[in-house]
């Protein structure tokens, strides 16, 4: 998007239109000839997968919304009506519910890629921050979407999470009352959550457009973490990356379909098939799996307000990552010490997720606190220090050299990730 594209349409109609609204040129320069590093591995396909999942959720969601009733007396039954009477309603519902989980699988891989390869570093800081904004919008959307079926977990999850805002000193109680539209989670809450759940994905769409725009200024990062120097370092997006992304997308959709068609309720909670009952509290209130690490962090801190701040802080800290990581070397492929702490971070996040599903008793509390401490230490202590004291491996002179080796040994790497330094000479 920097400057005009030099695309000239083949047809006269095309040229007429292009002069008035140069959208074909925009698509051509952004997604046809756009130069992408030739050494990208499959972790780079998840951006495209995420775009697909956003469209999938919007399409299934819009059709579901034609049949859903956002009223406490009707919601649960309207969802069951979709499952039973609407043609392929069962498929729409299961695609949408499992699609949300798939969306988060993809976003966590996408973020993990960014964390490992230093994709947040200069000059991609704004790109990264836009990503954090998208992540926050996704979490809000998913949270509100889960309330809509008005099952036991919908209601009680909404009660627990909205009550958190009351921890804010002074204004907390008022904020919660306005959030609820009443004095407890009720019909007003459900109605406004439906409205916002419909709205937010389109805001996500807008921020995604900014995210892709911000990406196209410097172009993609790559596993070697070095910027492109010559045209030998890159390949045009089409056909090399369109076809690679298409292959990765189909594999991902197979994974998605496995859940949707064969184990559609695996990732859900049985209690959400019980209609919401404000008088009966479930034995264990748990959010969906993708919120579990943050739920663990929330419960790890004994103070209510500090727990809330820690939970939001665990996402807000990502915004500062470009400045917290002091390393001059971008990619984890050339940072052996960093790699150890990175994989510990990933394992730690998974353990936090497991702890989020456990009752907050005994050993689980101690473990949650240790894991929360490591989570924050990674960003606030480890990354800033590591950049100053680590010994990094020599970075290749160019992407082309990373792929071909200085002796042109032709050791291929387009499919594999360069986490070990054995692909350069």
């Amino acid at each position: 998007m920097s400057g005009h594209s030099n695309y000239v349409p083949k047809s006269a109609v095309g040229r007429w239109f292009e002069r008035r609204l140069p959208i074909m040129g925009l698509i051509h320069s952004s997604f046809v000839v756009f130069p992408n590093p030739r050494n990208l591995n499959y972790y780079w396909t998840f951006g495209g997968i995420l775009a697909f999942m956003l469209v999938s959720q919007i399409l299934t969601g819009v059709v579901l919304a034609m049949h859903y009733a956002a009223n406490v007396d009707l919601a649960f039954n309207s969802v069951e009506q979709i499952m039973r009477d609407v043609n392929y309603g069962w498929m729409l519902r299961y695609l949408h519910a499992n699609g949300a989980s798939m969306f988060f699988v993809a976003v966590y891989v996408h973020i993990g890629r960014g964390l490992y390869y230093g994709s947040y570093k200069e000059p991609r800081e704004v790109l990264w921050i836009l990503g954090v904004i998208i992540f926050l919008l996704m979490m809000a959307t998913a949270f509100m979407g889960y309330v809509l079926p008005w099952g036991q977990m919908s209601f009680w999850g909404a009660t627990v999470i909205t009550n958190l805002f009351s921890a804010l000193p002074g204004v907390g109680e008022t904020i919660v009352t306005y959030l609820w539209g009443g004095y407890s989670v009720g019909n007003s809450t459900l109605n406004r959550f439906f409205s916002l759940h419909y709205l937010l994905p389109f805001m996500i769409f807008g921020v995604v457009a900014l995210h892709v725009w911000a990406l196209h200024v410097p172009g993609s990062n790559n596993p070697a973490g070095i910027e492109k120097k010559t045209d030998k370092d890159t390949l045009p997006f089409h056909p090399y990356f369109t076809i690679k992304d298409a292959f990765a997308l189909v594999c991902f959709v197979i994974f998605f379909s496995w859940f949707t068609f064969y184990i559609p309720n695996y990732l859900g909670h049985a209690d959400n098939y019980i209609e919401a009952n404000p008088a009966v509290t479930p034995a264990h209130i748990v959010p969906e799996w993708y919120f579990l690490p943050f739920y663990a962090i929330l419960r790890a801190v004994p103070d209510k307000l500090l727990g809330v701040l820690a939970m939001f802080g665990s996402i807000a800290i990502l915004v500062f990552l470009p400045w917290l990581d002091t390393s001059k070397v971008r990619s984890g492929a050339y940072r052996p010490a960093f790699r150890v702490f990175y994989w510990m971070f990933i394992a730690n996040a998974i353990v936090l997720g497991w702890l989020g599903a456990k009752p907050p008793e005994g050993l689980y509390v101690i473990a949650s606190r240790l894991c929360t401490a490591y989570y924050f230490a990674y960003f606030i202590v480890i990354l800033p220090l590591l950049g100053k004291i680590e010994r990094t491996l020599p970075v290749p002179a160019s992407i082309a050299e990373a792929v071909l080796g200085p002796s042109g040994s032709g050791s291929a790497m387009a499919a594999g990730a360069a986490s070990s330094p054995n692909s350069q000479g």
Partner: protein, 286 residues
């Protein structure tokens, strides 16, 4: 080494995703035994005769207390279900009286049921249901097979992702129906309640609903019932029926899934070979 890490991370992530299943707790109650179900697995289908038997058990025993308000009479005739004919469904519906109205005179009236009507509730409202059952409302049966579960524990909950185990609910329900016992194992059971091995907390408000020989099954060609008229058989049959009531589109879902995934595998293969062909022109790519 890299590949190992990717696989290890994938296992950990799938473990993490499966972790939500662990949330149930299910502290003191033992795990329900796993049964064989005809509708389990990727090619599972309902056994129509089993569904019909289960429906008979529901109708004769359970429906006196448990509503099934999301199921209509006509669902009993739709494909993927018990396989009653339109005529049978019409006759069945007509055997029930349904409140309707107001008519032009402004009065509510009773009429014979129609196939489009929902299964009539045994009680006019929740309060009547609770009053008739010692304060406990018998749960509606429409989605109960999906509303009940138990914690499978590690590593079974990971294995379940691959074996497609989705029958937690029916295994639990079957175990519950068979779980009544005179021996309370030291648990205090208040008057008006009953001991059940599989119910969380072991004290359930529902008395043992099934006894041997209670429901007469249709006879086979040899004059004997087509399935044993035992509590174990009743429990399995009614659970299978409840699974259908909760997931009437199960057969269509699994069938469609097979076609979709097969198509996608072929498509993935085509994309894979095309991708390799295109990338083979790139220097340094294998």
């Amino acid at each position: 080494m890299k590949r190992f890490k990717v696989i290890a991370a994938a296992i950990l992530v799938s473990g993490f995703m499966g972790g939500a299943v662990l949330a149930d707790g299910g502290h003191d109650a033992p795990l329900p035994p796993k049964n064989d179900w005809t509708f389990a697995g990727p090619f599972g289908t309902f056994d129509k005769t089993q569904l019909q038997r289960g429906f008979k058990v529901y109708r004769e025993v359970c429906s006196s207390c448990h509503s099934m308000g999301l199921v209509s009479f006509r669902n009993l005739a739709q494909p993927g279900g018990p396989g009653f004919t339109e005529g049978q469904v019409k006759a069945l519906a007509a055997s029930y009286k349904v409140k309707d109205g107001p008519n032009d005179a402004g009065e509510m009236f009773e009429r014979d049921g129609r196939p489009a009507d929902r299964w009539p509730s045994p009680f006019p409202n929740k309060q009547a249901a609770a009053a008739a059952n010692g304060g406990a409302i018998p749960p509606d049966f429409s989605v109960i097979a999906k509303a009940r579960s138990y914690s499978r524990g590690f590593p079974l909950f990971l294995v379940d992702m691959f074996t497609q185990y989705q029958e937690h609910g029916v295994d639990y329900i079957t175990a519950l129906l068979l779980g009544y016992s005179d021996d309370t194992h030291g648990v205090e059971v208040p008057a008006g309640k009953y001991y059940n091995t599989y119910y969380p907390g072991n004290v359930i408000a529902m008395p043992k609903p099934l006894n041997d020989g209670q429901v007469e099954y249709p006879k086979g060609a040899d004059g004997r019932p087509q399935a044993p008229e035992t509590v174990a058989q009743y429990s399995k049959d009614v659970s299978a029926f409840l699974m259908w009531a909760a997931e009437p589109k199960l057969e269509q879902r699994k069938e469609t899934g097979f076609r979709v995934i097969l198509f996608l595998i072929v498509l993935a293969g085509l994309f894979y070979f095309t991708k390799n062909k295109i990338w083979s022109r790139v220097e340094g790519h294998h």
